[in-house]
């Protein structure tokens, strides 16, 4: 049986100031573990986008990081509005972010595409009115 490390972070939906904290903390842990730098950078990019999405679009949620010797899985779960059309949401530049959020520099519509680009596998499970769960997978052995 393989060992699994698990870390949990609350993603505070009420504050932009704390957005990104879970990915910074995760990065520290992965560095300590000796995870390859390129994987850390990818996780840092993808997880940050996921965290920001939870704050902007879903009033926050939970970030869970599972680490085994050969795989890292990041699960970002919220009980927000859900994504109506995933295919559309995945398009570069597509965004439903309101004007006030865009004024802050968010809402460029690059978050989901970048999460896909910066992960080995991305799985989106979403239901309108129920919430969204996104899994980001990283296979360490292929690196």
């Amino acid at each position: 049986m393989s060992e699994t490390l698990h870390y949990h972070f609350d993603v505070d939906g009420a504050s932009f100031a704390n957005a990104g904290r879970a990915s910074v903390e995760t990065k520290k842990l992965l560095r300590q573990l000796g995870v390859p730098p390129e994987v850390i950078r990818s996780i840092s990019v993808a997880m940050y986008e996921g965290e920001i999405n939870m704050v902007i679009h879903a009033h926050g949620g939970d970030a869970d990081v599972y680490i085994t010797e050969d795989t890292i899985i990041i699960i970002l779960k919220d009980v927000g509005p859900g994504i109506r059309n995933v295919e559309e949401a995945m398009k570069e530049g597509f965004s439903t972010a309101p004007e006030n959020i865009r004024a802050l520099g968010f809402g460029a519509g690059m978050g989901l595409p970048n999460m896909k680009r910066y992960s080995d596998e991305m799985h989106i499970d979403t239901k309108v009115g129920v919430g969204t769960t996104i899994e980001l997978w990283y296979h360490l052995n292929k690196h």
Partner: protein
């Protein structure tokens, strides 16, 4: 890869084990063991923060003493730009140059002048660059080491140009060889006057096969004391020696000076090691947009705030500002133009590689699985600790303590305030 030689160290006779530095070290390199602070050389970045905060003067930096210099050699002083902000009632940089000559240096080559060349080289480099990721200044060695150890994927964004003092050493030596054919290369010694331990360490840690541009690194404090007694700016109306650096180069002494000198649209500058870390995290997650250049200084407000600089950095900044306003310095555009592509080719540094990336892995943790097991145990242990992060155990946080215990570097009994432990 040669060993990194640290400038920052601890005087065990003075250290009381008070935990101040323990909690302020930005990379958690310090532990208190047997009531004395010890620094982990693998993770220390020589930022000098622990020297700054120690109330018992137990932390110090090592460097070459002025008495170590061999004055029979052709000694070239390389004053850092920040030196010019150290003096009260001084409106001309020329007094500093004259003072250095009076101290016994054969020549002075201003690092500020080399900084102007670095600005130019950086501009050339940026113009020819394909990537849209911002480039990061490589001038602060504490920041460069932090990037190598903790943000290795950002290494490729570091400007691959020699730092101003290295370039100053190189150009000064070449100039002296040209002007003094009678001297053999070993007769010429370059002496950098440093505001910080980071630059001492950087200069002393020259990697194998790499050229040495700076022979000695002295402390700005020491030089300042010597200069004070020699600089007679009350009596001498105008010294013979003339400063050659312009406002562009002097500006490097304070934060934003380097970035502004590039005359580029989008730049970001930050100082103070904690702020630097925040910016690096953002750079790593790719959230910084519309920025082409990033200047990061471990000290606030820039090198004038280095721990080997005697004057309060904010006071020094005002003085530098006044120095420029009263016209002591003029821009010398022709000097800057001197730099052409051929010099550029010769002054590009290839040090910014990822070689050191994993030196923060604790010994005895040879692979990820072993480290995972250790961290899992540590996590379980940390859950039962008081979570006060008090530092009394000798580790900076309860979490760090837990891992230290698991790694056999600390004993559970070292935690004096644990309550519900079984």
């Amino acid at each position: 890869m040669a060993k990194y030689t640290h400038s920052v160290s601890i005087d065990p006779d003075k250290c009381t084990g008070c935990t101040t530095c323990l909690r302020r070290c930005p990379v958690e390199a310090i532990r208190i063991r047997n009531n004395k602070a010890v620094i982990n050389p693998l993770s220390c970045i020589d930022c000098g923060e622990c020297i700054r905060v120690c109330k018992h003067s137990a932390k110090h930096a090592s460097y070459d003493k002025l008495t170590d210099l061999d004055y029979s050699k052709h000694l070239i002083a390389l004053p850092a730009p920040s030196l010019f902000g150290q003096f009260n009632h001084m409106n001309e940089a020329d007094y500093v140059i004259q003072g250095l000559l009076d101290m016994g240096f054969s020549e002075v080559y201003e690092v500020a002048k080399a900084a102007e060349y670095v600005t130019d080289l950086t501009r050339i480099y940026m113009n020819g660059r394909q990537s849209r990721d911002p480039v990061i200044s490589s001038a602060c060695p504490a920041v460069v080491r932090l990037i190598k150890l903790r943000y290795p994927t950002l290494c490729e964004q570091l400007v691959p140009v020699l730092t101003p003092y290295e370039l100053a050493g190189k150009l000064a030596r070449e100039k002296a060889m040209r002007e003094h054919p009678e001297l053999s290369p070993s007769d010429i010694k370059t002496v950098f006057i440093s505001p910080c331990p980071a630059k001492v360490s950087w200069a002393k840690s020259v990697m194998e096969g790499q050229k040495v541009y700076v022979d000695y690194v002295t402390s700005m404090n020491d030089v300042y004391m010597e200069l004070l007694s020699r600089m007679k700016h009350d009596e001498v109306p105008s010294p013979e020696a003339a400063s050659e650096a312009g406002i562009v180069g002097l500006g490097w002494a304070t934060t934003s000076g380097e970035a502004a000198s590039l005359m580029n649209d989008g730049y970001l500058s930050a100082d103070g090691i904690d702020n630097v870390i925040k910016v690096l995290d953002d750079l790593e997650s790719g959230t910084v947009s519309d920025i082409s250049f990033v200047e990061l200084n471990a000290c606030s407000p820039g090198c004038v705030g280095g721990v080997l600089a005697p004057t309060n950095g904010y006071v020094a900044r005002v003085r530098l500002h006044n120095l420029r306003k009263t016209g002591g310095m003029v821009v010398k555009p022709n000097d800057i133009r001197d730099v052409d592509e051929s010099i550029a080719a010769g002054n590009i540094s290839d040090e910014y590689t990822e070689e050191e990336a994993f030196t923060y892995m604790p010994e005895g943790a040879p692979n990820m699985l072993a480290m995972m097991l250790a961290m899992k145990k540590a996590e379980a242990l940390a859950d039962k600790l008081p979570k006060k992060d008090c530092g009394a155990c000798g580790s900076p946080t309860c979490r760090a303590f837990a891992l230290d215990v698991v790694n056999g570097e600390a004993k559970l009994e070292d935690c004096k305030i644990r309550t519900e432990m079984e």
